[in-house]
Protein backbone atom coordinates (compact mmCIF):
# COMPACT_ATOMS: atom_id res chain seq x y z
CA UNK A 1 0.00 0.00 0.00
CA UNK A 2 1.28 3.42 -0.91
CA UNK A 3 1.25 5.84 1.96
CA UNK A 4 2.59 9.35 1.95
CA UNK A 5 2.40 11.84 4.73
CA UNK A 6 3.18 15.43 5.45
CA UNK A 7 1.54 15.84 8.84
CA UNK A 8 1.56 18.36 11.62
CA UNK A 9 3.39 16.48 14.42
CA UNK A 10 2.07 18.83 17.09
CA UNK A 11 -1.54 17.83 16.49
CA UNK A 12 -2.73 14.82 18.48
CA UNK A 13 -6.27 15.16 19.79
CA UNK A 14 -8.48 13.16 22.07
CA UNK A 15 -12.19 12.52 22.30
CA UNK A 16 -14.29 13.41 25.31
CA UNK A 17 -15.55 10.40 27.24
CA UNK A 18 -18.92 9.40 25.89
CA UNK A 19 -21.66 6.82 26.01
CA UNK A 20 -22.04 6.35 22.24
CA UNK A 21 -25.67 7.33 22.68
CA UNK A 22 -26.83 9.76 20.06
CA UNK A 23 -29.68 11.74 18.61
CA UNK A 24 -30.30 11.70 14.87
CA UNK A 25 -32.91 13.85 13.15
CA UNK A 26 -33.86 15.77 10.05
CA UNK A 27 -33.54 19.54 10.40
CA UNK A 28 -33.74 22.58 8.15
CA UNK A 29 -30.81 24.95 7.70
CA UNK A 30 -30.29 28.12 5.67
CA UNK A 31 -28.09 26.96 2.83
CA UNK A 32 -26.45 28.79 -0.06
CA UNK A 33 -28.26 32.03 -0.80
CA UNK A 34 -30.36 31.62 2.32
CA UNK A 35 -32.34 28.77 0.78
CA UNK A 36 -34.04 26.55 3.34
CA UNK A 37 -32.63 23.08 2.79
CA UNK A 38 -33.06 19.74 4.47
CA UNK A 39 -30.15 18.31 6.48
CA UNK A 40 -29.52 15.21 8.56
CA UNK A 41 -28.01 15.89 11.98
CA UNK A 42 -26.51 13.10 14.11
CA UNK A 43 -24.87 14.12 17.35
CA UNK A 44 -23.65 12.46 20.53
CA UNK A 45 -25.68 12.97 23.66
CA UNK A 46 -23.87 15.01 26.28
CA UNK A 47 -22.36 18.43 26.64
CA UNK A 48 -19.21 17.84 24.59
CA UNK A 49 -17.25 19.69 23.51
CA UNK A 50 -17.45 17.79 20.22
CA UNK A 51 -15.77 18.35 16.88
CA UNK A 52 -17.98 18.57 13.83
CA UNK A 53 -18.06 16.79 10.48
CA UNK A 54 -19.99 17.92 7.42
CA UNK A 55 -20.80 14.75 5.49
CA UNK A 56 -21.16 15.41 1.76
CA UNK A 57 -23.37 12.77 0.17
CA UNK A 58 -22.37 11.06 -3.06
CA UNK A 59 -24.05 11.54 -6.42
CA UNK A 60 -26.67 8.82 -5.73
CA UNK A 61 -28.01 11.18 -3.13
CA UNK A 62 -28.99 11.85 0.43
CA UNK A 63 -29.52 8.18 1.01
CA UNK A 64 -29.63 5.59 3.75
CA UNK A 65 -25.98 4.58 3.41
CA UNK A 66 -24.74 8.16 3.74
CA UNK A 67 -26.98 8.73 6.76
CA UNK A 68 -25.34 5.65 8.26
CA UNK A 69 -21.98 7.37 7.78
CA UNK A 70 -23.29 10.43 9.62
CA UNK A 71 -24.41 8.24 12.51
CA UNK A 72 -21.03 6.52 12.54
CA UNK A 73 -19.37 9.87 13.15
CA UNK A 74 -21.82 10.63 15.96
CA UNK A 75 -20.90 7.27 17.46
CA UNK A 76 -17.26 8.34 17.25
CA UNK A 77 -18.06 11.50 19.18
CA UNK A 78 -18.60 14.09 16.46
CA UNK A 79 -21.51 16.29 15.53
CA UNK A 80 -22.25 15.14 12.00
CA UNK A 81 -24.39 17.17 9.63
CA UNK A 82 -25.25 16.17 6.08
CA UNK A 83 -27.02 18.78 3.93
CA UNK A 84 -29.35 17.43 1.29
CA UNK A 85 -27.70 18.91 -1.79
CA UNK A 86 -30.79 18.03 -3.82
CA UNK A 87 -33.30 19.78 -1.56
CA UNK A 88 -34.05 22.48 -4.08
CA UNK A 89 -34.72 20.29 -7.12
CA UNK A 90 -36.53 17.45 -5.43
CA UNK A 91 -37.94 18.28 -1.99
CA UNK A 92 -39.51 15.22 -0.41
CA UNK A 93 -38.58 12.87 -3.25
CA UNK A 94 -36.91 9.54 -2.60
CA UNK A 95 -33.09 9.77 -2.78
CA UNK A 96 -32.80 7.88 -6.06
CA UNK A 97 -35.51 9.94 -7.77
CA UNK A 98 -33.88 13.13 -6.50
CA UNK A 99 -30.48 12.00 -7.73
CA UNK A 100 -31.87 11.16 -11.17
CA UNK A 101 -33.46 14.61 -11.40
CA UNK A 102 -30.31 16.47 -10.41
CA UNK A 103 -28.18 14.26 -12.62
CA UNK A 104 -30.37 15.04 -15.63
CA UNK A 105 -30.00 18.75 -14.88
CA UNK A 106 -26.22 18.61 -14.82
CA UNK A 107 -25.38 18.11 -11.15
CA UNK A 108 -24.82 20.51 -8.26
CA UNK A 109 -23.09 23.81 -9.13
CA UNK A 110 -19.79 24.26 -7.31
CA UNK A 111 -20.72 27.66 -5.93
CA UNK A 112 -23.91 26.30 -4.41
CA UNK A 113 -22.08 23.32 -2.93
CA UNK A 114 -19.61 25.60 -1.19
CA UNK A 115 -22.47 27.69 0.13
CA UNK A 116 -24.33 24.69 1.48
CA UNK A 117 -21.25 23.18 3.14
CA UNK A 118 -20.38 26.56 4.62
CA UNK A 119 -23.89 26.83 6.01
CA UNK A 120 -23.64 23.35 7.51
CA UNK A 121 -20.32 24.23 9.13
CA UNK A 122 -21.81 27.41 10.54
CA UNK A 123 -24.77 25.49 11.95
CA UNK A 124 -22.49 22.98 13.69
CA UNK A 125 -20.47 25.76 15.27
CA UNK A 126 -23.65 27.40 16.52
CA UNK A 127 -24.49 24.37 18.66
CA UNK A 128 -23.64 24.60 22.35
CA UNK A 129 -21.83 21.25 22.29
CA UNK A 130 -19.48 22.25 19.43
CA UNK A 131 -15.78 22.71 20.10
CA UNK A 132 -15.62 25.14 17.20
CA UNK A 133 -13.78 22.80 14.84
CA UNK A 134 -15.32 21.40 11.66
CA UNK A 135 -14.06 19.02 8.98
CA UNK A 136 -15.59 17.65 5.80
CA UNK A 137 -15.73 14.24 4.18
CA UNK A 138 -17.11 13.04 0.88
CA UNK A 139 -17.00 10.01 -1.38
CA UNK A 140 -16.83 9.89 -5.17
CA UNK A 141 -18.27 13.21 -6.39
CA UNK A 142 -18.44 14.15 -2.70
CA UNK A 143 -14.69 13.58 -2.44
CA UNK A 144 -14.10 16.27 -5.03
CA UNK A 145 -16.63 18.47 -3.26
CA UNK A 146 -14.91 17.95 0.10
CA UNK A 147 -11.66 19.12 -1.48
CA UNK A 148 -13.46 22.05 -3.14
CA UNK A 149 -14.97 23.10 0.18
CA UNK A 150 -11.57 22.90 1.89
CA UNK A 151 -10.10 25.20 -0.77
CA UNK A 152 -13.01 27.63 -0.51
CA UNK A 153 -13.86 27.76 3.19
CA UNK A 154 -11.94 27.99 6.44
CA UNK A 155 -12.04 24.40 7.74
CA UNK A 156 -10.01 22.32 10.19
CA UNK A 157 -9.71 19.04 8.26
CA UNK A 158 -10.94 17.52 5.00
CA UNK A 159 -11.18 13.96 3.71
CA UNK A 160 -11.33 13.18 -0.01
CA UNK A 161 -12.35 9.60 -0.75
CA UNK A 162 -11.58 8.90 -4.41
CA UNK A 163 -12.88 12.19 -5.74
CA UNK A 164 -12.58 12.50 -9.53
CA UNK A 165 -12.21 15.65 -11.65
CA UNK A 166 -9.79 17.31 -9.24
CA UNK A 167 -6.84 16.99 -11.62
CA UNK A 168 -8.29 15.91 -14.96
CA UNK A 169 -11.55 17.26 -16.37
CA UNK A 170 -14.54 15.04 -16.94
CA UNK A 171 -14.85 13.51 -20.42
CA UNK A 172 -15.77 15.93 -23.18
CA UNK A 173 -19.48 16.27 -23.62
CA UNK A 174 -20.29 15.59 -20.00
CA UNK A 175 -23.41 17.49 -18.97
CA UNK A 176 -22.15 17.86 -15.41
CA UNK A 177 -20.13 20.99 -14.81
CA UNK A 178 -17.06 20.00 -12.81
CA UNK A 179 -13.88 21.91 -13.50
CA UNK A 180 -10.49 20.63 -12.33
CA UNK A 181 -9.44 22.06 -8.98
CA UNK A 182 -5.65 21.84 -8.97
CA UNK A 183 -5.52 25.57 -9.63
CA UNK A 184 -6.90 26.28 -6.18
CA UNK A 185 -4.66 23.91 -4.20
CA UNK A 186 -2.88 27.00 -2.93
CA UNK A 187 -6.10 27.96 -1.15
CA UNK A 188 -6.43 24.69 0.79
CA UNK A 189 -7.25 25.86 4.30
CA UNK A 190 -6.68 22.70 6.32
CA UNK A 191 -4.96 19.28 6.47
CA UNK A 192 -6.17 16.88 3.78
CA UNK A 193 -6.60 13.10 3.99
CA UNK A 194 -6.88 11.36 0.62
CA UNK A 195 -7.99 7.72 0.29
CA UNK A 196 -7.69 6.13 -3.14
CA UNK A 197 -7.82 2.78 -4.93
CA UNK A 198 -4.82 1.86 -7.03
CA UNK A 199 -7.12 0.31 -9.64
CA UNK A 200 -9.35 3.36 -9.89
CA UNK A 201 -9.31 5.23 -13.20
CA UNK A 202 -11.19 8.29 -11.92
CA UNK A 203 -9.04 9.39 -10.18
CA UNK A 204 -6.21 7.34 -11.63
CA UNK A 205 -2.97 6.81 -9.67
CA UNK A 206 -1.37 9.30 -12.07
CA UNK A 207 -3.94 11.94 -11.13
CA UNK A 208 -3.37 11.25 -7.44
CA UNK A 209 0.38 11.73 -7.98
CA UNK A 210 -0.22 15.06 -9.71
CA UNK A 211 -2.43 16.23 -6.87
CA UNK A 212 0.23 15.25 -4.36
CA UNK A 213 2.84 17.14 -6.36
CA UNK A 214 0.75 20.31 -6.13
CA UNK A 215 0.22 19.83 -2.40
CA UNK A 216 3.97 19.48 -1.87
CA UNK A 217 4.70 22.52 -4.01
CA UNK A 218 2.37 24.63 -1.92
CA UNK A 219 3.61 23.23 1.40
CA UNK A 220 0.24 21.82 2.40
CA UNK A 221 -0.33 19.32 5.20
CA UNK A 222 -1.72 16.10 3.75
CA UNK A 223 -1.82 12.33 4.07
CA UNK A 224 -2.54 9.98 1.16
CA UNK A 225 -3.27 6.25 1.21
CA UNK A 226 -3.66 4.25 -2.01
CA UNK A 227 -4.87 0.68 -1.66
CA UNK A 228 -3.81 -2.17 -3.97
CA UNK A 229 -6.60 -4.37 -5.29
CA UNK A 230 -9.13 -1.60 -4.71
CA UNK A 231 -10.85 0.51 -7.32
CA UNK A 232 -13.47 3.20 -7.09
CA UNK A 233 -16.04 3.10 -4.28
CA UNK A 234 -14.21 0.54 -2.13
CA UNK A 235 -16.05 1.81 0.96
CA UNK A 236 -19.48 0.86 -0.44
CA UNK A 237 -20.53 -2.24 1.46
CA UNK A 238 -23.47 -2.98 -0.86
CA UNK A 239 -21.55 -2.90 -4.13
CA UNK A 240 -19.21 -5.36 -5.81
CA UNK A 241 -16.52 -2.69 -5.50
CA UNK A 242 -16.42 -3.15 -1.71
CA UNK A 243 -12.93 -4.06 -0.47
CA UNK A 244 -13.13 -4.90 3.23
CA UNK A 245 -9.41 -4.55 3.96
CA UNK A 246 -9.12 -1.19 2.25
CA UNK A 247 -12.33 0.06 3.83
CA UNK A 248 -11.30 -1.09 7.30
CA UNK A 249 -7.92 0.59 7.08
CA UNK A 250 -9.53 3.64 5.48
CA UNK A 251 -11.94 4.07 8.37
CA UNK A 252 -9.04 3.79 10.81
CA UNK A 253 -7.18 6.51 8.93
CA UNK A 254 -10.27 8.72 8.97
CA UNK A 255 -10.74 8.20 12.69
CA UNK A 256 -7.08 9.02 13.43
CA UNK A 257 -7.13 12.03 11.16
CA UNK A 258 -10.27 13.61 12.57
CA UNK A 259 -9.16 12.86 16.13
CA UNK A 260 -5.88 14.63 15.38
CA UNK A 261 -7.37 17.73 13.85
CA UNK A 262 -10.91 18.06 15.19
CA UNK A 263 -10.65 17.20 18.86
CA UNK A 264 -7.52 18.84 20.22
Amino acid sequence: MLRSRCLDPSAKGSLPSMSHDMKAETITIAGHGGDQIEAYLAQPLGHGPFGGVVVIHHMPGYDRSTKEIARRFADEGYIALMPNLYSREAPGASPDDAAATVRARGGVPDERLVGDVGAASKHIKSLASSNGKVGTIGYCSGGRQSFLAACSLQLDAAVDCYGAAIVNPLPEGSPVKMSPLVGIVKDLSCPLLGLFGEEDQHPSPEEVAVLEKHLVEHGKTYEFHSYPGAGHAFFCVDRPSFRPEAAKDGWEQIDHFFRRYLTS
Binding site: S94, A100, A104, S141, A164, G173, G231
Partner: protein, 90 residues
Amino acid sequence: MCTYETEHVPISGSGKGPAGWFSLSAATVYFDHPVHAAAEHTLNVDFLNPDLGPSARVAVELDPASALALARAIIAAVETAEAFTGTVVR
Protein backbone atom coordinates in the same frame (compact mmCIF):
# COMPACT_ATOMS: atom_id res chain seq x y z
CA MET B 1 -16.34 5.79 -11.76
CA CYS B 2 -19.23 8.10 -12.44
CA THR B 3 -19.45 8.69 -16.19
CA TYR B 4 -21.92 11.57 -15.81
CA GLU B 5 -22.71 11.37 -19.53
CA THR B 6 -26.42 11.27 -20.13
CA GLU B 7 -28.53 10.95 -23.25
CA HIS B 8 -31.80 12.86 -23.14
CA VAL B 9 -34.62 11.54 -25.32
CA PRO B 10 -38.05 13.18 -25.71
CA ILE B 11 -40.67 10.42 -25.68
CA SER B 12 -44.41 9.96 -25.73
CA GLY B 13 -46.21 7.18 -23.91
CA SER B 14 -47.13 6.03 -20.44
CA GLY B 15 -45.38 4.32 -17.55
CA LYS B 16 -46.46 2.76 -14.30
CA GLY B 17 -44.83 3.85 -11.08
CA PRO B 18 -45.61 3.23 -7.39
CA ALA B 19 -48.60 5.60 -7.58
CA GLY B 20 -50.00 4.13 -10.79
CA TRP B 21 -49.92 5.07 -14.45
CA PHE B 22 -48.76 8.45 -15.70
CA SER B 23 -47.86 10.07 -19.01
CA LEU B 24 -44.21 10.03 -20.06
CA SER B 25 -42.50 12.90 -21.81
CA ALA B 26 -38.76 12.24 -21.44
CA ALA B 27 -36.20 9.51 -20.98
CA THR B 28 -32.60 9.66 -19.84
CA VAL B 29 -30.07 6.96 -20.69
CA TYR B 30 -26.73 6.69 -18.93
CA PHE B 31 -24.03 4.24 -17.86
CA ASP B 32 -23.22 4.63 -14.19
CA HIS B 33 -23.39 3.12 -10.73
CA PRO B 34 -26.72 1.42 -10.07
CA VAL B 35 -28.79 2.01 -6.96
CA HIS B 36 -29.99 -1.57 -6.69
CA ALA B 37 -28.53 -3.90 -9.33
CA ALA B 38 -25.64 -6.10 -8.21
CA ALA B 39 -23.07 -4.67 -10.59
CA GLU B 40 -20.46 -1.97 -10.48
CA HIS B 41 -21.98 -0.16 -13.45
CA THR B 42 -25.21 -0.60 -15.34
CA LEU B 43 -26.99 0.88 -18.31
CA ASN B 44 -29.70 2.94 -16.66
CA VAL B 45 -32.88 4.24 -18.22
CA ASP B 46 -35.24 6.64 -16.48
CA PHE B 47 -38.69 7.14 -17.99
CA LEU B 48 -39.89 10.51 -16.76
CA ASN B 49 -42.49 13.20 -16.66
CA PRO B 50 -40.58 16.20 -15.25
CA ASP B 51 -43.79 18.25 -15.08
CA LEU B 52 -45.10 15.87 -12.43
CA GLY B 53 -41.96 16.08 -10.30
CA PRO B 54 -38.98 13.85 -9.49
CA SER B 55 -41.13 10.95 -8.31
CA ALA B 56 -42.77 10.57 -11.71
CA ARG B 57 -40.06 8.16 -12.73
CA VAL B 58 -39.85 4.54 -13.85
CA ALA B 59 -36.25 3.39 -13.53
CA VAL B 60 -34.42 0.34 -14.81
CA GLU B 61 -30.80 -0.70 -14.26
CA LEU B 62 -29.56 -3.27 -16.80
CA ASP B 63 -26.28 -5.03 -17.38
CA PRO B 64 -24.91 -3.80 -20.73
CA ALA B 65 -25.56 -7.08 -22.57
CA SER B 66 -29.16 -7.07 -21.40
CA ALA B 67 -29.55 -3.46 -22.45
CA LEU B 68 -28.22 -4.22 -25.91
CA ALA B 69 -30.49 -7.26 -26.27
CA LEU B 70 -33.44 -5.16 -25.19
CA ALA B 71 -32.58 -2.38 -27.64
CA ARG B 72 -32.38 -4.92 -30.49
CA ALA B 73 -35.68 -6.47 -29.43
CA ILE B 74 -37.34 -3.06 -29.41
CA ILE B 75 -36.05 -2.30 -32.91
CA ALA B 76 -37.16 -5.72 -34.16
CA ALA B 77 -40.62 -5.25 -32.66
CA VAL B 78 -41.00 -1.82 -34.22
CA GLU B 79 -39.87 -3.17 -37.61
CA THR B 80 -42.41 -5.97 -37.36
CA ALA B 81 -45.11 -3.45 -36.51
CA GLU B 82 -44.10 -1.31 -39.46
CA ALA B 83 -44.37 -4.29 -41.80
CA PHE B 84 -47.71 -5.33 -40.31
CA THR B 85 -49.35 -1.92 -40.37
CA GLY B 86 -47.55 -0.48 -43.39
CA THR B 87 -46.70 2.59 -41.33
CA VAL B 88 -43.09 3.67 -41.14
CA VAL B 89 -42.40 5.40 -37.84
CA ARG B 90 -38.73 6.25 -38.50
